[in-house]
Amino acid sequence: MSVSRPIGTARTIWLIARLALRRQLNIWQSARFGRKKKAAAELSSGAGVVRSGTPAKSRGRSVFSIFLLLIMAFNGFNIGSRGLIGLSATSRELDVSSDKISVRGYTQAKLVQAEKELQHARELPDAVRREKYLGMWNRYVDELFLYEVRGERLSEDDENNRVQQMRDVFAQRGAAGFTARAKDTFWVSGETWPRDSQPSSVFLRSLSLIVLLWMAFIVFVSLGTNNKNLGEVEWNFEWLYTFPASARALFTSKLFVYSFLNPLVWLFFFPFLVLIYVAGGFGFKAILLGLAALLYLSILAGALSTFLEVALRKLLSLSQLKNVQALFTVLGTVSLLLVYASCLSKPLDDFLVARATAMPEFLAWNPFSLPLILGLPSAPVSQMQIVVSVMVVLIFAFGTFALLGSEWLTRDGLVKAGGPYQGTRRIRPSPPHKTWLRGAAAQELLLLARDRNLLVQVLVVPLLVPAFYLLIYSGMVSAVSGNFRHAAVMAFGVGAYSFLSSAMPLLNREDKTLWQLLTFPQSLATILVKKAMVWAAFGLLYGGATLLLITRFSHHLHASSWGEVFLALYGIALYAFIASGIGILATNVLETDRRARFRTDMVYLYMILAAMYANTIYSPSLWAKLAQLVLSTLLAFALWQKVKDITPYFLDPVARPPRSLSLADGMIAALAFFVVQGLVFLVLHSVTDVSLPAQITFAYILAGLIVAGLALYTFWRQDVPDLWKKIGVTRIRDGVAAQPVWRGVLRAVALGALAALGAIIYMRVLNLFPQGQIWKQDAELSSFLSRADRPVWICILVIVAAPLFEEFLFRGLIFQGLRRTTGPALAILGSAALFALVHPPISVIPVFGLGIAAALSFQMSGFLLAPILTHAVYNTMIIFLNKS
């Protein structure tokens, strides 16, 4: 006798939606921010031990994810508002007679003023003064034009032409030849939606086109990228089908989940919709209206997705499904990129507005743009009522269509007959075996050739993004063909970008087949290196092809460009290993949930690193290039050292390599230090007006504080045993402990003084040579060594704070990290070399000396205070003794 009781439709939907929500929450919950809790129950044996889930290895999910989430939400708003503002401006321009040049309101006002002043100047009796004033005002007008043109991201030639055109118009017609563009605001406001009927309607129609793109994105992405089980044997819907619930209830719940539980929609689409109503002048009510529009559009998209999924599953075979999924991934990506491109690019905006103008007005009344009509600033109430009632009807129509359609499709069963065993069993001779590629690399290539989903993600999507940028920044084409440096950066960018989907998810792709790799008599790290090499080759192919194409069509590859070619290609090869290293460390192979298996925030870390590398291709300084080259290479080695450390423990849910500070930690901290330093400097530079050396010093110290703090926090959270001892805050070795502290202190002071003496002598020697003097003066302009306007507080910071953070990074982390794998001599030299590398070229030699002195005093005394003291003594002496 069964005790199963029938449950209603509403209850079914609730249960399934709750399950989906629970799952979503669990994903978020796995991102814990507190310290890992110690197992409450101590090891006890025998009965009474309740087996809870095996505690996962903490993977140190970072503060970084929250930060990213904020940035993404901000981006949603920012891009949306820029798009709306641009669109608003473009639709307004339609109304203006085209013989006037549209400029910013500010420029227009200044032009009127300048015209008056010029008129005034021309009437001056004194010829000399007249010339002077005329010249001054003409220069001012030129500057206005330049300022105007710079904002449009044109190539240099186009810029000059445009400025010339403006000059001509101004000479002929004065300020009357210009018209003020709509008010330039950073944020969308109630005025953004044009009020005049014609522009207002064009604005509405353009928006409806953008919303159509959004809908395409949502549907394609939920079926493509997000829906991993579309092309798989197990469809989790089959499981739900085994419960005693009606098909209708199940399909309804699917629709519900598709509609409301898609985080992408909430993160990106919702801000966009809210902004539309803000533009319509609804103030805070815009949030409610945006929510209503979102729910309406989500249900429509959810209905489409549900029906499409059922139809595809029912009508297509498994292999066809995979291809369709690949296609959807591409379409979804392209739709999103088009949405963003339309927000960021003026030419595309023009195109969109032109299409919208040509489009008959009634098309704006399609189901997907109905909510937009509600945003019209001056719509009559009766029209609103009609729109709302049509929307309600449409929700039911779409829902009913999806449900009845799905039911009809599955009237003779949920799954296509035959189950997993579809397709004919063809006995074909195996393809000829290529003997030059064997084992892991060959398998990777074979998979790439077969799996079209993978092929698209790995080889096609990376090409879409550069294409997208070319679309947005029309000036980029001429820039790339005009300057080989741009071409090199572009080549590096294409190569490095391709690794995001090829080398980075290297291990993640292995998924449940990892067991097989573990049965072979090769270490997993070795196998992974071979796979990384395959992707490095593909990246090089892409980068090389980019370079060849550019040189073929536009250049002039002169001798000096070979350095850039080398930097680009070496960078690509290197970043294949950095990407795969980061990717492997970011993958938790034990995690069964696909979305939680891979820490996506690490993608951004990689992109930041790659951007830094690309930046050095631009850098004119050979030194900066060398430093970046060495740092990146070391980083790659450090990452793979870490990979080697952890690969043996991959499938073990509890054991981990003995925790310690690794070189990788130090390298990442050092790199982060320089990024943060640059950022802080930029902020200070634009916000305060303290002197340049003060800014540099302050940025340096603030960056040290931030990075050191974050590093300590991370180690603390990871439960590194004996953390303080390892960094050297307390004594490291007991063997040295017998030594009295004062001896360590004395030695530290002596070493610091010695290093400072060396530095001063070095400076004197430099003074003997004319080249050295120039060099030194150049350096002093922007470096620490300049003593001009250095207030006391800066001196104190330099003496007290700088040694603290620098020593923590370079001795506490990097020296100690190196010390783990090499002897003291190599560790001292290596850490000092790194320390020297990140300083300006003039001070490399003295700083190298300081590095050695500090490392020596650390090594000899065994606590971090010693090198800090050494460093402080050095800084003090440099500041006060190097006066002449």
Partner: protein, 254 residues
């Protein structure tokens, strides 16, 4: 190498694996000498798979050690794998790869050339009747076929030790019989077989040595005869199993 390491192919000493407060395997001591067919018996959740995964170097022991041919299973795992063929309980293969391609890949990873792979595969395929499915994508195989394919891969490099995790799970009677024959033939050729199972009759029929584990601990160890002698009666393995694993053993392990 000490003599004790020489005489036993598999040497497990004080092996322990804990997940937090839970001991999946606790202080396990076992040794298997060359040419044995050794069965690790136990109810679900007794720690059989955990033990096998530690033998394969997939899990790191919390305490104690497991050695194969004198090599530490975790520290020297690369060398260990030259000597070991492994059949997991549920082998999962890459989609988009054909059976033949997976076999070739496995062979190449063991350093075999194409002719050797061909030569060694042919009799195995014949025996397991896997021939006609070789050009099919392995992801479409039924569970039994996947298992056969994994078995072929495990035996490609002629390992001294075969570690089989629940080998007959999902196999049809024909394949089960073929597997039994393969196991016996291997043992006759001087190879050692270490397999886990909860099928008592299978263990009774095949093996020369038995260890029964329950709740992560060794409950009994010896030949079938020794176990019988210890329990005084002429009992079947089933009776022995229930008496040492205990009625509660199955429940507590779940």
């Amino acid at each position: 190498m000490s003599p004790s390491q020489n005489s036993n192919l598999v040497e497990i000493r004080g092996l322990t694996k804990s997940y937090g407060a839970f001991d999946a395997v606790k202080d396990l001591n076992l040794s298997v000498s060359y040419g044995q067919i050794f069965a690790l018996l136990g109810p679900n959740g007794a720690g059989k798979t955990t033990t096998i995964r530690m033998l394969m170097g997939i899990l790191a022991p919390t305490a104690g050690s497991a050695r194969i041919d004198g090599l530490d299973c975790f520290q020297d795992r690369v060398e260990v794998k030259r000597r070991v063929g492994y059949l997991p309980d549920e082998p999962i293969f890459h989609d988009y790869l054909r059976g033949s391609e997976i076999i070739r890949f496995s062979g190449e990873m063991h350093g075999l050339n194409r002719a050797e792979i061909e030569k060694r595969t042919r009799p195995l395929l014949q025996q397991l009747e896997l021939h006609d499915a070789l050009e099919e994508f392995a992801v479409n195989y039924s569970r039994g076929m996947k298992k056969k394919l994994a078995l072929v891969c495990a035996m490609l490099h002629d390992p001294a030790l075969l570690i089989l995790d629940e080998p007959t799970n999902g196999l049809d009677p024909f394949a089960t019989r073929a597997l039994h024959e393969i196991i016996r033939a291997n043992a006759a050729a001087g190879k050692t077989i270490f397999f886990s199972t909860h099928l008592l009759d299978q263990a009774e029929k095949l093996c020369t040595q038995i260890a029964i584990v329950a709740k992560g601990r060794l409950a009994a160890h010896g030949t079938l005869g020794e176990l019988r002698a210890r329990l005084t009666s002429d009992s079947s393995l089933e009776e022995i199993f229930f008496s040492v694993a205990g009625d509660s053993g199955g429940v507590a392990g779940l």
